[in-house]
Symmetry: C2
Amino acid sequence: MALSKKPVNGMKDILPEEMQIRDYVQQVIKETYRSFGFTPIETPCMENIANLSNKQGGENEKLIFKVMKRGEKLKIAEAKEEADLVDFGMRYDLTVPLVRFYANNANDLPSPFKALQMGSVWRADRPQRGRYRQFMQCDIDIIGEPSNLAEIELILATTTTIGRLGFKNFEIRINERRILKAMAAYSGFPEEEFDTVFIILDKMDKIGLDGVAEELAKEGYAKESIDKYLALFEGVSKAQNGIKYLADTLQGFLEPEVEQNLQEIIDSVEAAKTADFKMVFDPTLVRGMSYYTGTIFEIAMPELGAACGGGGRYDKMVGKFTGNDVPACGFSIGFERIILLLMESGFTVPMQRPKVAYLIEKGCTSEQVSKVIARAQEERVAGKQVLVVRMNKNKKFQKEKLTAEGYKDIVEFYKD
Amino acid sequence: MALSKKPVNGMKDILPEEMQIRDYVQQVIKETYRSFGFTPIETPCMENIANLSNKQGGENEKLIFKVMKRGEKLKIAEAKEEADLVDFGMRYDLTVPLVRFYANNANDLPSPFKALQMGSVWRADRPQRGRYRQFMQCDIDIIGEPSNLAEIELILATTTTIGRLGFKNFEIRINERRILKAMAAYSGFPEEEFDTVFIILDKMDKIGLDGVAEELAKEGYAKESIDKYLALFEGVSKAQNGIKYLADTLQGFLEPEVEQNLQEIIDSVEAAKTADFKMVFDPTLVRGMSYYTGTIFEIAMPELGAACGGGGRYDKMVGKFTGNDVPACGFSIGFERIILLLMESGFTVPMQRPKVAYLIEKGCTSEQVSKVIARAQEERVAGKQVLVVRMNKNKKFQKEKLTAEGYKDIVEFYKD
């Protein structure tokens, strides 16, 4: 079979220029998250297929790259369906593996456990421009903290990181799954229809209030419910304090502690924040994953139509593995979007080693070469980046290329 | 289906303690290799299955985790063999993907191209203690440098890195595929039997000279060939300079430049080395991969029976993708073995941030919590790692655990 130069369809090679920015961003992220007491962990890139197909992953479960059984376990002739042929799958996010990790290792972990994960995930989406089937995710999670201290620390850690990368004037949009549900219940939508209502609500930023009304009507919901529902959103936008307005209006539908809980998060973050951003209550924020149980949030960048990170509380997921619920909350940075924004803005990595190139003429004796290399070793120890290469016949072109690669200082060594 | 707490069979979760060491080692590796002008790149973890099954990977090709086709392309009822069901595979090393990367991107890369790769690879080996089916590899390669400048720089870069990690008194064993072949030809083994002879030779360190003789005899080779072959190894061990002895003895079988080439590598590395190690010519060194064409080398640690890294020259592999051969040479560090050795030696990561824990009593108002968090933010900016947690009822136990985790400084905040 012919060998293919291309990466597999929908995945990409990362070249030195982008890689340098990725490495720098990863380092800033790790360094900042560590200062908040998050500890890095890693899980295998594959999980048992049952763990990935338990309905926690929503739509992502349709996009799993599946790994075929091997050896005697693989019985192609007898296979009737995919499940007969497959034992593992590539992870589609870092949350399911984290929860499995926690269930597996809880006895050896501090409580609360503050985890940092940076790793690739895979989704067999239809390939499209700027969207890849292998991409990096970068998550922090706090497992075992029931109070909103978790949300506050997660939002502060993430915004501090984003701020250190030079982003300004962004927003953290925040909402609560319980507010979402109370608004739908108050408006009279049947509980089994909530998910459909939320999928439509999620399009608000694209199709507006009228578009949402239209789509809800198309689904056949009562006009009274739709009117009541939309009036709530209009009420929020007119209110001094949208959270207070909803808490007052939704009495009997909304747990009373939700208002105070959400307000505390917003106030504490505003009081302690170090980056240039705003906390914004957004009752139209839905977040797709079905595992969220409380607070949900998203980073919105002015430079970007879409969100570039998000997360929320998922208090019921650990229990699926252990039988005992443990409170949990996480925040994921949209690493690839951050990189894209930095690349587009012409970002250059700060504080690099000075770059020196040594050109050795062909025909130098091995003693001469040894001396050049020994000198390079000294300069490297002294903090420089030293490239040692053979001098080309077309030295001028070679030097121009090296200069373009950032080698400002070029030293030539000729044979005696 | 029940959810499994365990990682998939043969792969492992990495806990905070090990992760801290891994992060540190990765950072030292990257930093050192960068000082030598190596630039990080990344390729997808999957490759088209044809690229992984082209006989370059030797035994590893039998250990591929294969990824099943998806959607309409997957036709289970019609499938007769694995190949009908599979389109991608998990990479089993970083060399095949590097060469594909180079073939795909050569126009955008400097020449010579000095690549640094750190990434996971997968091999469906039978799980056994200390050996995992997903593990990290860490490779540097120089593509486009025909001279031994490549070998010298690779060995210096790798040994400098290993030295910075605190290892001493190790050896770099070096040999040449052309010497291996010349020794076998001189002894009268038929060329098509060379690989079998080398597989037996490779066991020398385990079964000794007599064991090798015995196994060669068992294969049915002529006694005369075996005697001549073994006499060569005895000759090397008695010689002042084993390389010179072989060059003299193997005249007519060995290209004349091999002696000088190998001697220059050894001399230049000895002259410029900064770490505490020795260069050792070892004519029994084989290295399994069939793609090597010239120099081959290995790191041998006194603490370890086995090698913990190796590499060599593979001048014929780029041509398999592009039709034009380009000289190439690489060195891979056995990352997992390095980590294991460091863990076993009780290694602790140097220069960490001072760790402070803030305990907040339950019942503190949100204003109080805000103040504590704001103070934590200040300390983080000032360079400390600050953990903010709720005070437990059993405060004494909580503080003991935090102290054990390295939080030497614990500050308590009580409600007013």
